[in-house]
Protein backbone atom coordinates (compact mmCIF):
# COMPACT_ATOMS: atom_id res chain seq x y z
CA UNK A 1 0.00 0.00 0.00
CA UNK A 2 2.87 2.33 0.86
CA UNK A 3 4.29 1.72 -2.60
CA UNK A 4 0.99 2.66 -4.18
CA UNK A 5 0.94 5.94 -2.34
CA UNK A 6 4.47 6.76 -3.48
CA UNK A 7 3.59 5.86 -7.05
CA UNK A 8 0.44 7.96 -6.90
CA UNK A 9 2.46 10.89 -5.62
CA UNK A 10 5.00 10.54 -8.39
CA UNK A 11 2.14 10.23 -10.84
CA UNK A 12 0.64 13.50 -9.66
CA UNK A 13 3.97 15.28 -10.00
CA UNK A 14 4.46 13.85 -13.47
CA UNK A 15 1.01 14.90 -14.62
CA UNK A 16 1.70 18.37 -13.33
CA UNK A 17 4.51 18.59 -15.88
CA UNK A 18 2.59 17.00 -18.72
CA UNK A 19 -0.27 19.47 -18.58
CA UNK A 20 2.15 22.03 -20.05
CA UNK A 21 3.51 19.89 -22.86
CA UNK A 22 2.19 21.89 -25.82
CA UNK A 23 5.61 21.57 -27.35
CA UNK A 24 8.14 23.66 -29.10
CA UNK A 25 8.15 24.63 -32.75
CA UNK A 26 11.59 25.23 -34.11
CA UNK A 27 13.89 25.63 -37.12
CA UNK A 28 17.47 26.56 -37.96
CA UNK A 29 16.74 27.52 -41.54
CA UNK A 30 14.31 30.40 -41.29
CA UNK A 31 14.37 33.22 -43.83
CA UNK A 32 14.73 36.92 -43.18
CA UNK A 33 14.94 39.42 -46.01
CA UNK A 34 15.61 43.11 -45.79
CA UNK A 35 14.81 45.61 -48.45
CA UNK A 36 15.92 49.20 -48.58
CA UNK A 37 14.24 51.27 -51.22
CA UNK A 38 15.42 54.72 -52.31
CA UNK A 39 15.10 56.51 -55.65
CA UNK A 40 18.87 56.05 -56.08
CA UNK A 41 19.27 52.38 -55.31
CA UNK A 42 17.41 49.32 -54.05
CA UNK A 43 19.36 47.12 -51.66
CA UNK A 44 18.23 43.69 -50.60
CA UNK A 45 19.73 40.70 -48.81
CA UNK A 46 18.56 37.32 -47.53
CA UNK A 47 19.48 35.25 -44.53
CA UNK A 48 18.45 31.60 -44.83
CA UNK A 49 20.06 30.43 -41.61
CA UNK A 50 17.82 32.05 -39.03
CA UNK A 51 17.38 30.10 -35.80
CA UNK A 52 14.01 30.50 -34.20
CA UNK A 53 11.62 28.70 -31.87
CA UNK A 54 8.28 29.36 -30.25
CA UNK A 55 6.40 27.69 -27.48
CA UNK A 56 2.86 26.58 -28.29
CA UNK A 57 1.61 27.04 -24.76
CA UNK A 58 2.82 30.44 -23.62
CA UNK A 59 3.59 31.98 -27.01
CA UNK A 60 7.20 32.87 -26.25
CA UNK A 61 9.11 33.35 -29.50
CA UNK A 62 12.80 33.86 -30.15
CA UNK A 63 14.98 34.57 -33.18
CA UNK A 64 18.71 34.63 -33.60
CA UNK A 65 20.70 35.14 -36.76
CA UNK A 66 24.28 35.88 -37.71
CA UNK A 67 24.78 39.18 -39.51
CA UNK A 68 27.37 37.66 -41.81
CA UNK A 69 24.81 35.13 -43.07
CA UNK A 70 22.99 37.88 -44.97
CA UNK A 71 23.65 37.23 -48.64
CA UNK A 72 23.78 40.03 -51.20
CA UNK A 73 23.96 39.80 -54.96
CA UNK A 74 27.07 41.98 -54.98
CA UNK A 75 30.01 40.55 -53.02
CA UNK A 76 31.41 44.01 -52.38
CA UNK A 77 28.14 45.21 -50.91
CA UNK A 78 28.11 42.23 -48.56
CA UNK A 79 31.65 43.06 -47.46
CA UNK A 80 30.75 46.69 -46.80
CA UNK A 81 27.57 45.66 -44.95
CA UNK A 82 29.64 43.53 -42.57
CA UNK A 83 32.73 45.72 -42.34
CA UNK A 84 31.40 49.24 -42.34
CA UNK A 85 27.74 49.27 -41.36
CA UNK A 86 27.03 46.28 -39.12
CA UNK A 87 30.59 45.68 -37.83
CA UNK A 88 29.74 42.02 -37.68
CA UNK A 89 32.96 40.87 -36.02
CA UNK A 90 32.13 43.08 -33.03
CA UNK A 91 28.35 42.54 -33.17
CA UNK A 92 27.91 39.11 -34.77
CA UNK A 93 24.22 38.54 -33.98
CA UNK A 94 20.78 40.05 -34.25
CA UNK A 95 18.19 38.65 -31.84
CA UNK A 96 14.49 38.99 -31.13
CA UNK A 97 12.84 37.95 -27.91
CA UNK A 98 9.08 38.28 -27.74
CA UNK A 99 5.61 36.87 -27.40
CA UNK A 100 2.86 35.79 -29.76
CA UNK A 101 0.13 37.68 -27.90
CA UNK A 102 -2.88 35.59 -28.89
CA UNK A 103 -1.24 32.18 -29.00
CA UNK A 104 -4.39 30.75 -27.38
CA UNK A 105 -6.45 31.56 -30.47
CA UNK A 106 -4.10 29.58 -32.70
CA UNK A 107 -5.10 25.94 -32.94
CA UNK A 108 -1.90 24.21 -33.93
CA UNK A 109 -3.77 20.93 -34.22
CA UNK A 110 -6.07 22.22 -36.95
CA UNK A 111 -5.12 23.33 -40.47
CA UNK A 112 -5.89 26.98 -41.10
CA UNK A 113 -4.54 30.51 -41.13
CA UNK A 114 -4.39 32.53 -37.95
CA UNK A 115 -3.09 35.98 -37.11
CA UNK A 116 -1.70 37.33 -33.89
CA UNK A 117 0.23 40.39 -32.81
CA UNK A 118 3.85 39.64 -31.99
CA UNK A 119 5.54 41.99 -29.55
CA UNK A 120 9.06 41.89 -28.28
CA UNK A 121 12.54 43.28 -28.19
CA UNK A 122 14.83 43.40 -31.20
CA UNK A 123 18.56 43.67 -30.57
CA UNK A 124 20.94 44.78 -33.30
CA UNK A 125 24.45 46.06 -32.62
CA UNK A 126 23.75 45.88 -28.87
CA UNK A 127 20.84 48.31 -29.22
CA UNK A 128 17.51 46.94 -28.03
CA UNK A 129 14.21 48.40 -29.24
CA UNK A 130 10.57 47.38 -28.88
CA UNK A 131 9.02 45.97 -32.02
CA UNK A 132 5.37 45.16 -32.68
CA UNK A 133 4.09 43.43 -35.76
CA UNK A 134 1.30 41.18 -36.94
CA UNK A 135 2.24 37.56 -37.51
CA UNK A 136 0.39 35.28 -39.89
CA UNK A 137 0.51 31.62 -38.89
CA UNK A 138 -0.49 28.98 -41.39
CA UNK A 139 -0.95 25.50 -39.97
CA UNK A 140 -0.81 22.64 -42.41
CA UNK A 141 -0.24 18.98 -41.61
CA UNK A 142 1.33 19.79 -38.29
CA UNK A 143 3.80 22.28 -39.80
CA UNK A 144 3.54 25.96 -39.03
CA UNK A 145 4.54 28.68 -41.46
CA UNK A 146 4.92 32.12 -39.92
CA UNK A 147 5.16 35.37 -41.83
CA UNK A 148 5.58 38.93 -40.66
CA UNK A 149 6.91 42.23 -41.90
CA UNK A 150 7.93 45.38 -40.13
CA UNK A 151 10.09 48.39 -40.82
CA UNK A 152 13.08 49.64 -38.94
CA UNK A 153 15.32 52.65 -39.07
CA UNK A 154 19.05 51.83 -39.26
CA UNK A 155 19.88 55.05 -37.41
CA UNK A 156 18.01 53.65 -34.37
CA UNK A 157 20.47 50.77 -34.15
CA UNK A 158 23.72 52.66 -34.10
CA UNK A 159 24.42 52.10 -37.80
CA UNK A 160 26.53 54.99 -39.00
CA UNK A 161 25.96 56.03 -42.57
CA UNK A 162 28.25 58.61 -44.19
CA UNK A 163 26.46 61.64 -45.63
CA UNK A 164 27.66 60.76 -49.11
CA UNK A 165 25.94 57.35 -49.05
CA UNK A 166 22.90 58.42 -47.04
CA UNK A 167 20.67 58.98 -50.12
CA UNK A 168 21.20 55.34 -51.10
CA UNK A 169 20.04 53.85 -47.81
CA UNK A 170 16.44 54.07 -46.68
CA UNK A 171 15.64 55.14 -43.13
CA UNK A 172 12.73 52.72 -43.23
CA UNK A 173 14.09 49.30 -44.12
CA UNK A 174 11.50 46.61 -44.66
CA UNK A 175 12.16 43.36 -42.82
CA UNK A 176 10.27 40.31 -44.10
CA UNK A 177 10.18 37.11 -42.11
CA UNK A 178 9.20 33.75 -43.52
CA UNK A 179 9.70 30.72 -41.31
CA UNK A 180 8.71 27.07 -41.62
CA UNK A 181 8.54 25.64 -38.13
CA UNK A 182 8.51 21.96 -37.32
CA UNK A 183 7.21 20.49 -34.12
CA UNK A 184 9.87 19.24 -31.74
CA UNK A 185 9.17 16.04 -29.81
Amino acid sequence: MKKTIIYSLLFTIATAFTTHSGGIYKTNTGNINFYSHTPVEDITADNHKVKTAFSAENGKIQFSCLIKDFEFKKALMQEHFNENYMESTTYPKATFDGTISSISTIDLGKDGTYTSPVVGKLTIKDVTKDVTTLGTFTVKNGLVNAKATFNLNPYDYNVSIPKMVAPKISDSIKISIDIDYTHQH
Binding site: M1, I24, K51, L76
Partner: protein, 294 residues
Protein backbone atom coordinates in the same frame (compact mmCIF):
# COMPACT_ATOMS: atom_id res chain seq x y z
CA UNK B 1 -1.44 -5.60 -5.28
CA UNK B 2 1.49 -6.71 -7.38
CA UNK B 3 -0.39 -6.20 -10.62
CA UNK B 4 -1.47 -2.72 -9.58
CA UNK B 5 2.14 -1.80 -8.88
CA UNK B 6 3.25 -2.99 -12.29
CA UNK B 7 0.47 -1.08 -14.04
CA UNK B 8 1.35 2.04 -12.09
CA UNK B 9 5.01 1.63 -12.97
CA UNK B 10 4.25 1.47 -16.69
CA UNK B 11 1.81 4.33 -16.47
CA UNK B 12 4.39 6.45 -14.73
CA UNK B 13 7.03 5.58 -17.33
CA UNK B 14 4.71 6.65 -20.12
CA UNK B 15 3.84 9.84 -18.30
CA UNK B 16 7.48 10.68 -17.78
CA UNK B 17 8.31 10.03 -21.40
CA UNK B 18 5.46 12.28 -22.47
CA UNK B 19 6.51 15.02 -20.16
CA UNK B 20 10.16 14.83 -21.28
CA UNK B 21 10.00 17.56 -23.96
CA UNK B 22 8.31 19.94 -21.57
CA UNK B 23 10.93 19.27 -18.93
CA UNK B 24 13.52 20.36 -21.43
CA UNK B 25 11.41 23.27 -22.50
CA UNK B 26 13.03 25.82 -20.22
CA UNK B 27 16.42 25.22 -21.86
CA UNK B 28 14.98 24.69 -25.32
CA UNK B 29 14.43 28.34 -26.19
CA UNK B 30 17.80 29.41 -24.91
CA UNK B 31 19.32 26.47 -26.79
CA UNK B 32 18.67 28.52 -29.90
CA UNK B 33 22.03 30.16 -29.70
CA UNK B 34 24.17 27.19 -28.87
CA UNK B 35 25.91 25.70 -31.86
CA UNK B 36 27.03 28.84 -33.60
CA UNK B 37 30.71 28.01 -33.84
CA UNK B 38 29.78 25.26 -36.30
CA UNK B 39 29.43 27.75 -39.15
CA UNK B 40 32.75 28.12 -40.89
CA UNK B 41 33.76 31.67 -40.40
CA UNK B 42 35.83 32.99 -43.28
CA UNK B 43 37.69 36.16 -42.62
CA UNK B 44 36.69 38.91 -45.01
CA UNK B 45 38.25 42.24 -45.92
CA UNK B 46 41.86 41.58 -44.97
CA UNK B 47 42.60 44.55 -47.22
CA UNK B 48 40.26 47.14 -48.74
CA UNK B 49 41.20 46.21 -52.28
CA UNK B 50 43.35 43.84 -54.31
CA UNK B 51 46.42 46.11 -54.21
CA UNK B 52 48.27 47.23 -51.08
CA UNK B 53 49.95 50.09 -52.93
CA UNK B 54 51.89 48.91 -55.98
CA UNK B 55 51.74 45.21 -55.38
CA UNK B 56 48.86 42.79 -55.14
CA UNK B 57 47.15 41.97 -51.86
CA UNK B 58 45.52 38.59 -51.17
CA UNK B 59 42.11 40.08 -52.00
CA UNK B 60 40.43 38.86 -55.17
CA UNK B 61 37.45 40.21 -57.03
CA UNK B 62 34.32 38.06 -56.83
CA UNK B 63 33.03 35.89 -59.65
CA UNK B 64 31.83 37.87 -62.67
CA UNK B 65 33.02 41.16 -61.24
CA UNK B 66 35.36 43.48 -63.06
CA UNK B 67 37.54 45.84 -61.10
CA UNK B 68 38.61 48.71 -63.34
CA UNK B 69 41.79 50.40 -62.20
CA UNK B 70 43.52 53.62 -63.12
CA UNK B 71 46.89 54.20 -61.50
CA UNK B 72 48.93 57.40 -61.63
CA UNK B 73 52.38 58.20 -60.35
CA UNK B 74 53.39 61.82 -60.70
CA UNK B 75 56.88 63.31 -61.04
CA UNK B 76 59.34 63.56 -58.17
CA UNK B 77 58.50 65.92 -55.31
CA UNK B 78 62.00 67.38 -54.93
CA UNK B 79 61.82 69.35 -58.19
CA UNK B 80 59.82 71.90 -56.23
CA UNK B 81 57.20 74.41 -57.21
CA UNK B 82 58.27 74.78 -60.86
CA UNK B 83 56.85 71.29 -61.52
CA UNK B 84 54.20 71.78 -58.82
CA UNK B 85 55.94 69.08 -56.82
CA UNK B 86 55.82 66.62 -59.66
CA UNK B 87 52.23 67.07 -60.76
CA UNK B 88 53.37 68.30 -64.20
CA UNK B 89 54.51 64.82 -65.10
CA UNK B 90 52.73 61.54 -64.77
CA UNK B 91 53.02 57.93 -65.65
CA UNK B 92 49.97 55.78 -65.60
CA UNK B 93 48.52 52.32 -65.96
CA UNK B 94 45.02 51.47 -67.04
CA UNK B 95 43.75 47.97 -66.50
CA UNK B 96 41.44 45.68 -64.68
CA UNK B 97 40.99 42.52 -62.69
CA UNK B 98 38.26 40.04 -63.54
CA UNK B 99 36.84 37.26 -61.36
CA UNK B 100 36.50 33.94 -63.21
CA UNK B 101 35.58 32.51 -59.83
CA UNK B 102 35.73 34.05 -56.37
CA UNK B 103 39.25 32.63 -56.05
CA UNK B 104 40.60 32.74 -59.59
CA UNK B 105 41.26 36.15 -61.14
CA UNK B 106 42.86 37.30 -64.34
CA UNK B 107 43.91 40.81 -65.21
CA UNK B 108 45.41 42.94 -67.93
CA UNK B 109 46.85 46.41 -68.07
CA UNK B 110 48.88 48.82 -70.06
CA UNK B 111 51.41 51.20 -68.59
CA UNK B 112 53.13 54.21 -70.10
CA UNK B 113 56.42 53.06 -68.56
CA UNK B 114 58.27 51.13 -71.32
CA UNK B 115 54.89 50.98 -73.08
CA UNK B 116 54.31 47.81 -71.12
CA UNK B 117 51.37 45.47 -71.54
CA UNK B 118 50.89 43.18 -68.59
CA UNK B 119 48.70 40.28 -67.67
CA UNK B 120 48.37 38.09 -64.64
CA UNK B 121 46.63 35.05 -63.26
CA UNK B 122 45.94 34.96 -59.56
CA UNK B 123 44.65 32.09 -57.45
CA UNK B 124 43.65 32.15 -53.82
CA UNK B 125 44.22 28.66 -52.42
CA UNK B 126 43.91 29.30 -48.69
CA UNK B 127 41.41 31.39 -46.76
CA UNK B 128 41.88 32.48 -43.19
CA UNK B 129 39.09 31.43 -40.82
CA UNK B 130 38.09 32.69 -37.40
CA UNK B 131 37.24 29.36 -35.80
CA UNK B 132 39.29 27.79 -33.07
CA UNK B 133 40.50 24.99 -35.35
CA UNK B 134 41.13 27.53 -38.02
CA UNK B 135 43.30 28.35 -40.97
CA UNK B 136 45.51 31.14 -39.62
CA UNK B 137 46.40 32.73 -42.98
CA UNK B 138 45.18 33.43 -46.47
CA UNK B 139 47.47 32.60 -49.36
CA UNK B 140 47.57 33.43 -53.04
CA UNK B 141 49.75 32.44 -55.98
CA UNK B 142 50.13 35.01 -58.72
CA UNK B 143 52.07 35.01 -61.99
CA UNK B 144 52.53 38.11 -64.08
CA UNK B 145 53.82 38.54 -67.59
CA UNK B 146 54.97 41.89 -68.97
CA UNK B 147 55.69 42.90 -72.56
CA UNK B 148 57.89 45.90 -73.20
CA UNK B 149 56.75 47.40 -76.54
CA UNK B 150 59.24 50.26 -76.89
CA UNK B 151 60.98 50.49 -80.27
CA UNK B 152 64.17 48.45 -80.23
CA UNK B 153 67.13 50.43 -78.94
CA UNK B 154 69.34 48.78 -81.58
CA UNK B 155 67.12 47.92 -84.55
CA UNK B 156 70.10 46.60 -86.52
CA UNK B 157 70.53 43.76 -84.02
CA UNK B 158 68.71 40.44 -84.40
CA UNK B 159 65.94 41.31 -81.94
CA UNK B 160 63.64 38.55 -80.78
CA UNK B 161 60.12 39.06 -79.49
CA UNK B 162 60.90 36.95 -76.41
CA UNK B 163 63.44 39.59 -75.40
CA UNK B 164 60.52 41.89 -74.67
CA UNK B 165 59.11 39.60 -72.01
CA UNK B 166 59.55 39.56 -68.28
CA UNK B 167 57.80 37.49 -65.64
CA UNK B 168 57.04 37.85 -61.95
CA UNK B 169 55.90 35.02 -59.70
CA UNK B 170 54.70 35.67 -56.18
CA UNK B 171 53.38 33.84 -53.19
CA UNK B 172 51.24 36.16 -51.09
CA UNK B 173 50.67 35.16 -47.48
CA UNK B 174 48.51 37.41 -45.34
CA UNK B 175 46.85 37.43 -41.97
CA UNK B 176 44.15 39.69 -40.59
CA UNK B 177 45.35 39.99 -37.01
CA UNK B 178 42.44 42.12 -35.84
CA UNK B 179 39.59 44.11 -37.33
CA UNK B 180 42.05 46.93 -37.86
CA UNK B 181 45.39 45.33 -38.57
CA UNK B 182 46.47 43.06 -41.42
CA UNK B 183 49.91 42.17 -42.72
CA UNK B 184 51.27 40.34 -45.73
CA UNK B 185 54.53 38.73 -46.84
CA UNK B 186 55.20 38.33 -50.55
CA UNK B 187 58.18 36.20 -51.62
CA UNK B 188 58.82 37.24 -55.22
CA UNK B 189 60.83 36.05 -58.21
CA UNK B 190 61.30 38.39 -61.16
CA UNK B 191 62.63 36.89 -64.39
CA UNK B 192 63.82 39.07 -67.27
CA UNK B 193 64.41 37.37 -70.58
CA UNK B 194 66.81 40.12 -71.63
CA UNK B 195 69.28 41.89 -69.32
CA UNK B 196 71.78 44.65 -70.15
CA UNK B 197 74.91 42.53 -69.80
CA UNK B 198 76.21 39.06 -69.04
CA UNK B 199 77.04 39.88 -65.42
CA UNK B 200 73.48 40.78 -64.59
CA UNK B 201 71.21 38.04 -63.36
CA UNK B 202 68.04 37.14 -65.23
CA UNK B 203 66.38 36.03 -62.01
CA UNK B 204 65.95 38.45 -59.15
CA UNK B 205 64.68 37.42 -55.75
CA UNK B 206 62.83 39.77 -53.45
CA UNK B 207 60.65 39.71 -50.37
CA UNK B 208 57.69 42.02 -50.16
CA UNK B 209 56.13 43.22 -46.95
CA UNK B 210 52.79 45.00 -46.67
CA UNK B 211 50.50 46.04 -43.86
CA UNK B 212 47.40 48.08 -43.30
CA UNK B 213 45.86 49.69 -40.29
CA UNK B 214 42.28 50.88 -40.26
CA UNK B 215 41.86 54.38 -38.90
CA UNK B 216 38.12 54.66 -39.60
CA UNK B 217 35.78 51.95 -40.94
CA UNK B 218 36.37 53.31 -44.45
CA UNK B 219 39.98 54.51 -44.28
CA UNK B 220 43.23 52.63 -43.81
CA UNK B 221 46.91 53.53 -43.68
CA UNK B 222 49.04 51.21 -45.79
CA UNK B 223 52.73 50.55 -46.01
CA UNK B 224 54.50 48.40 -48.57
CA UNK B 225 58.17 47.52 -48.96
CA UNK B 226 59.94 45.25 -51.41
CA UNK B 227 63.35 44.09 -50.25
CA UNK B 228 65.54 42.91 -53.13
CA UNK B 229 68.19 40.54 -51.81
CA UNK B 230 71.70 42.02 -52.14
CA UNK B 231 74.13 41.72 -55.07
CA UNK B 232 71.44 41.39 -57.70
CA UNK B 233 70.84 44.95 -58.85
CA UNK B 234 72.90 48.06 -59.70
CA UNK B 235 74.47 50.01 -56.91
CA UNK B 236 72.15 52.94 -57.53
CA UNK B 237 69.02 50.79 -57.35
CA UNK B 238 66.63 51.30 -54.44
CA UNK B 239 64.04 49.16 -52.74
CA UNK B 240 60.47 50.27 -53.36
CA UNK B 241 58.89 51.78 -50.27
CA UNK B 242 55.38 53.17 -50.39
CA UNK B 243 53.12 54.70 -47.77
CA UNK B 244 49.52 55.59 -48.43
CA UNK B 245 45.85 55.66 -47.57
CA UNK B 246 42.92 53.62 -48.82
CA UNK B 247 39.68 55.56 -48.89
CA UNK B 248 36.63 53.49 -49.65
CA UNK B 249 33.43 55.18 -50.74
CA UNK B 250 31.10 52.31 -51.60
CA UNK B 251 31.73 51.33 -55.19
CA UNK B 252 35.16 52.99 -55.36
CA UNK B 253 38.39 52.62 -53.52
CA UNK B 254 40.83 55.52 -53.78
CA UNK B 255 44.41 54.81 -52.86
CA UNK B 256 46.57 57.88 -52.32
CA UNK B 257 50.24 57.31 -51.62
CA UNK B 258 53.85 58.37 -51.73
CA UNK B 259 56.36 56.04 -53.32
CA UNK B 260 59.91 56.07 -54.62
CA UNK B 261 58.99 53.81 -57.55
CA UNK B 262 57.78 54.83 -60.98
CA UNK B 263 56.41 51.79 -62.73
CA UNK B 264 53.00 50.42 -61.77
CA UNK B 265 53.86 46.83 -62.74
CA UNK B 266 55.85 44.25 -60.75
CA UNK B 267 59.12 43.95 -62.64
CA UNK B 268 59.26 47.74 -62.82
CA UNK B 269 58.73 48.72 -59.21
CA UNK B 270 60.66 45.78 -57.76
CA UNK B 271 63.80 45.90 -59.91
CA UNK B 272 63.88 49.31 -61.64
CA UNK B 273 63.26 51.66 -58.72
CA UNK B 274 65.94 54.34 -58.48
CA UNK B 275 64.43 57.03 -56.24
CA UNK B 276 65.72 57.43 -52.69
CA UNK B 277 63.35 58.49 -49.93
CA UNK B 278 66.00 60.47 -48.05
CA UNK B 279 66.75 62.56 -51.17
CA UNK B 280 63.10 63.48 -51.45
CA UNK B 281 63.14 61.44 -54.63
CA UNK B 282 59.58 60.31 -54.12
CA UNK B 283 56.37 60.71 -56.01
CA UNK B 284 52.75 61.23 -55.20
CA UNK B 285 50.42 58.72 -56.78
CA UNK B 286 46.92 57.33 -56.71
CA UNK B 287 44.96 54.28 -57.78
CA UNK B 288 41.26 54.47 -58.45
CA UNK B 289 39.38 51.20 -58.41
CA UNK B 290 35.78 50.80 -59.48
CA UNK B 291 33.97 47.45 -59.40
CA UNK B 292 31.42 46.56 -62.07
CA UNK B 293 29.08 43.57 -61.87
CA UNK B 294 28.18 41.32 -64.74
Amino acid sequence: MKIRSIILFYLLSVVFLLSWPSLLYAQELSLLEEDESSTSDRVIATFKTNRIVNGHSIETVAKNEFDFKISHRFGVLNQGFYDLFGLDQATMRMGGDFGITDNLNIGIGRSTVEKTYDGFIKYKFLKQTQNTESVPISAVLISHIGINTLKWAQPERDNKFTSRLHYTHQLLVARKFSTNFSAQLSPTLVHKNLVESNEKPNDIFALGFGARHKITPRTTVNIEYFHVFPNQLDINAANALSVGFDIETGGHVFQLFFTNSTAPFEKGFITDTKGKWNDGNIRFGFNIARVFNF
